[in-house]
């Protein structure tokens, strides 16, 4: 019995492990962990940030406290990180804080955290001051001498919320939106690859190739079928995201801020375009994979490889990264990946501000999709890519 089971196990392991492509699957977690580690480092908030605050009235106790915390007090309300107005009623102080930010990124997150830390610290500082000044007789005053109310201003869109709530909102949205988009893109690649791989496996593809059909017609039909499926899936994704955003983001912290977007919204329209481009890009990759694979096992290995580039922007935005905050080759890599733009624009649902990357997203997404489909057309026409590339290189050298 033991001998037979051992023989069965040996047979299975040899069959799987002798295929070198299987090792690509083993290496994938390594690549993903390395990518995630790098992205976490890139998107980590800075340990110290400058904080410029405008204070409406001069109060030496408060001002000296702010100075002691390293805060710069500016004389201009504009260009400041926060405008602090305060009113006192006997020993009770009410602070109205307006926090200004131009983008949702790690710098503003660090500033919002620092401001909250400093203002909470002032509560304790002022309490000690009152204890020394009036003793413990008035417990009500000493226990809670300061009240704060927050307004967060993001490019002239105001929310009656502490900026940290806004970051919480975006963090949840930035987990949900990219994760589901990632699943959608991988699903689209898989579906497109399967459309061709199943034909290869069932040998119906050979039948198609022998019929009076142009190679381009076969490829075009595969592309259109995949795109129709992509657009259908995108619409389901979109409806889901609208339900999520309007249910969750408008009610966070018990504060209703109004619908995040409406159907006649330019941001929503651009998002739909970028979403469709992301999914058709993924479908194109799937078609290429299908043409390069003889069966589903090989197709799945190749699909595993393409999860890494799709995963990079997903992880980046989940980690709270911002395109305006990164630079160098990593930024170039992000900008070359079409899903980046569909994820990036979801921030505009909250900020109501278009960064301008979407134009690049449309151009790059379409250019890459057409390039992939061009390669697919060469393969379906039986062109040997290796010899074509070497011919092109020879032509180039001859020039």
């Amino acid at each position: 019995m033991k001998r037979k089971i051992t023989a069965l196990i040996k047979k299975d392991l040899l069959d799987v492990l002798r295929d070198p492509k299987v090792y690509i699957g083993f290496l994938l977690p390594l690549a993903i962990f390395a990518a995630f580690g790098f992205i976490s480092a890139v998107t980590a908030p800075p340990s110290s940030v400058p904080l410029n605050v405008y204070v409406s009235k001069n109060w030496s106790l408060f001002n000296s406290y702010l100075y002691s915390q390293g805060v710069t007090i500016t004389s201009q309300p504009y260009n400041s990180d926060a405008i602090i107005k305060f009113y006192n009623n006997s020993n009770f102080i009410t602070f109205n804080v307006t926090f200004n930010m131009k983008d949702i990124n790690q710098i503003y997150y660090a500033k919002a955290e620092a401001l909250n830390y400093i203002l909470n610290g002032f509560q304790a500082y002022y309490r000690n001051y009152l204890l020394e000044k009036i003793g413990v007789a008035n417990f009500k005053v000493i226990s809670n001498p300061v009240n704060y109310s927050f307004i967060t201003n993001i490019n002239n869109v105001t929310y009656s919320l502490n900026p940290l709530y806004i970051f919480e909102m975006t963090q949840i949205e930035e987990f949900v939106a990219p994760t589901i988009l990632f699943a959608l893109c991988i699903g689209m690649s898989e579906m497109a690859a399967t459309l061709i791989t199943v034909e290869q496996e069932e040998k119906t593809f050979e039948m198609l190739l022998s019929m009076p059909l142009k190679r381009y017609d076969i490829l075009t039909s595969k592309i259109i079928s995949s795109f129709v499926i992509s657009i259908l899936s995108s619409m389901f994704y979109l409806v889901g995201l609208i339900i999520f955003s309007n249910e969750y983001l408008t009610l966070l912290g018990g504060v209703k801020t109004g619908p995040v977007f409406s159907v006649n919204d330019l941001i929503l329209l651009i998002f739909i375009v970028l979403l469709i481009i992301s999914t058709i890009f993924s479908s194109s990759l799937g078609i290429l994979i299908g043409l390069l694979s003889k069966d589903l096992r090989i197709a799945n290995v190749y699909l595993g490889i393409i999860t890494v580039p799709i995963l990079i922007p997903t992880l980046f935005f989940i980690a709270g990264g911002s395109l305006s905050y990164v630079s160098g080759p990593f930024k170039v890599l992000l900008l070359l990946l079409p899903p980046t733009y569909a994820i990036e624009i979801t921030r505009a649902f909250i900020t109501r501000y278009l960064t301008g990357y979407w134009i690049l997203g449309i151009v790059i997404g379409l250019a890459e999709t057409f390039f992939i489909l061009y390669i697919a057309s060469l393969i379906i026409n039986g062109v040997n890519l290796k010899s074509k590339i070497s011919k092109e290189v020879q032509n180039y050298q001859g020039r």
Partner: protein
């Protein structure tokens, strides 16, 4: 007009699958490629069906170079790959509809193709069911029907009766023979089944390790031997000896 196959060569990497195959197949007749697995039958049929490009050589039909003018050649050829499957969620009828739409030049031709297809497939009411419920034999009959219903000048059938029960295999063999005679079409089949080849083909080519060892009518090839198996074994052994001497 006969089909002329001249000096076909095809390699996959360092493996040479077909080495200089040449033969002629006549109109109204069934030509069979007979050989063991891996002999190069399927590669040859794929080249003739324009699915695969040879490294060198040519295939002519009706003065058309099938390899160079593959697109126009496909108008008058039909190919059934070995073990060809079906689209699981389409019915048999929808498969035939698809082929009829691709080949037909007008509505009347489309209707005639479809009627013929249903008759050849002989699947009864099962023709309206999804093919995922079909047996291997039923799928094979559907594929043969799909190929023959469009009345191609050249029908290329790789192992046409593989997986089909005896009763339907006899039917299909009769059908293929009748089809070739009635339509003056050229039918090329491949098989490793000597019995089938003897029953079905007018002319055969014996192929081994990518080389066509002999071509002729069954009678010519059998000569004084009792059956094709004996001929094949002698030819294959001779080929091996030739190679070792070389």
């Amino acid at each position: 007009m006969p089909l002329y196959v001249k000096e076909l060569f095809k390699s996959y990497g360092s493996t040479v699958a077909v080495r200089g195959i040449s033969f002629t197949a006549e109109e109204g007749k069934v030509f069979g490629l007979l050989g063991p697995n891996g002999a190069g039958k399927t590669t040859t049929l794929k080249i003739i069906s324009t699915v695969l490009r040879p490294d060198s050589g040519s295939v002519f039909l009706n003065a058309v170079d099938i390899i160079r003018m593959a697109e126009s050649a496909r108008e008058f050829l039909a190919y059934v790959p070995e073990d060809a499957g079906t689209y699981r969620n389409l019915t048999g009828y929808e498969h035939l509809e698809f082929a009829a739409t691709v080949y037909a030049r007008n509505r009347d031709e489309y209707k005639a193709f479809l009627e013929d297809g249903i008759r050849i497939a002989d699947l009864g009411d099962k023709i309206y069911e999804k093919t995922k419920s079909y047996s291997k034999g039923m799928k094979r009959r559907l594929q043969i029907a799909r190929a023959l219903m469009v009345k191609p000048k050249l029908a290329v059938l790789d192992e046409p009766t593989a997986g089909i029960d005896v009763f339907h295999a006899i039917n299909i063999r009769n059908l293929i023979k009748k089809f070739a005679n009635k339509n003056s079409s050229i039918v090329i089949v491949s098989s490793h089944n000597m019995f089938e080849v003897e029953k079905l083909c007018d002319e055969i080519g014996i192929i081994n390790e990518g080389v066509l060892l002999r071509v002729g009518s069954i009678k010519e090839i059998k000569g004084d031997n009792s059956d094709l198996e004996e001929v094949f074994m002698k030819l294959a052994k001779g080929d091996q000896m030739d190679k070792s001497i070389r």
